[in-house]
Symmetry: C2
Subunit: 227 residues, 2 copies
DNA sequence: AAATATTTGTCCGTATGTATC
DNA sequence: TGATACATACGGACAAATATT
């Protein structure tokens, strides 16, 4: 196992252990080999093994007791921890659709609260984002401005869980966003419309612009490659 | 630090490090003390320290390079990993409201898709949950049935991200559910109504029962403290 | 450029506490 | 009452990568 790339050992071991649990379809209560065994099988020191396995324990995936050993926890089948233990989702090609759907439902579902609570300061910063978009050339810069725009909208709702979900959905769609056909002008206009509606305190226009914002056209429909 | 309770050292250290980062309001790029320093300050061996700190690295909170040290990552500000690194949020009393709001928006927002895609098999299992609820005495059993009921509803949407979010929101509100005044009968009726509406393929009734499901009365109304 | 110091990466050995038989 | 198996925790040592002088 030693010379596999230059990746750090404990990172490799962490992945190995995850795969071990998933591949063998271990269920709650099932035992995991002892530290000695695992370190020998994987060909690493017990220290390295522990650095990886303690992560699994802290994540709540396994439990360990001296004199007993380690067992798989009843895991639930998600919860943030297990969901990120599974590293979530296999079919990456579908993530874009999933994250889009979730974002759309969340943003539109909280639109009323957003509209009621938003401040001039927030709107100003959103307008700044729109202006910044017009001068950006780099895709990443553009994307960051877009992300910040949406975070501004909902930051005043006093709901950190919402922000957390929006951000993680956002992050998932980041790498697949390139597949969307949408020219700069349109994308800017979508966000500009939202700002205008908010400035004018016009609820219906706000909702309409938000719904419109979540309509996309895909590149050459049906040819999206999958691995 | 040695005899503090019987809690394992690496778990304590993990919490200490998290608090260290949050308390000092460290920003992306900021340096973290060396392993030597930290292990001395915390009074633990370098091994134990690493078991804790490698968790933070695997979670993507920090990065480490030989010869350089460790820095805080640009964290995003969420993504599932950082969100669970924050664990999430301090004001636990508010989590219940937050998770309730998010669940409500998500479940109602996806109600149409649920209604269109749901199968008889799903409905049957939901009905089984309702029946099981009536025989359960233990709060935990009751709660598990409730959780499974909702997971059934949306499992056919082919959106794992939604399921993951619902489950983690659910888990957050689990420990605070006790604060809700709601007798068994009402809680069962709420779920029963949803089943009936689905069986009859009656969309409006389905939506109404779902909305009603998310109305709660809190203990001692008006005394919920806020900061 | 080259030597030196710093810091993480990795391994080993050993002692202790705890659960099981 | 041991004897065994296991995780917990400590300390030391050296290699590898990087920074500093």
């Amino acid at each position: 196992m030693k010379n596999l790339k230059t990746k750090k050992l404990y990172l490799q071991v962490y992945d190995e252990l995850r795969h071990y649990i998933l591949k063998n379809n271990l269920k709650p209560g099932d035992k995991i080999p002892t530290e000695m065994e695992l370190s020998q099988v994987l060909g690493v020191s017990r220290n390295v093994l522990r650095e990886a396995i303690k992560t699994l324990e802290i994540l709540g995936v396994v439990s360990s007791k001296p004199g007993v050993g380690m067992i798989v926890n009843a895991f639930s089948p998600s919860s943030l921890s297990t969901c990120m233990f599974l590293n979530l989702i296999d079919d990456r090609g579908d993530q874009f659709r999933q994250s889009q759907e979730v974002r759309k439902v969340l943003e539109i579902g909280f639109a009323q609260q957003c509209f009621d609570s938003i401040t001039d300061n927030q709107i100003s910063r959103m307008e700044d984002c729109v202006n910044a978009m017009q001068s950006f050339e780099e895709y990443e810069d553009f994307y960051d401005a877009d992300a910040y725009f949406h975070r501004c909208m909902y930051e005043n709702l006093d709901n950190k869980m919402l922000i957390a979900f929006l951000d993680s959905a956002w992050e998932c769609d980041r790498s697949f966003r390139a597949k969307v056909v949408e020219d700069k002008a349109l994308r800017i206009k979508k966000h500009s419309d939202i700002c205008i509606a908010l400035r004018e305190r016009h609820y219906d226009a706000f909702m309409a612009s938000l719904v419109f914002h979540f309509t996309y056209k895909y590149k050459s429909a049906g040819t999206r490659e999958e691995e």
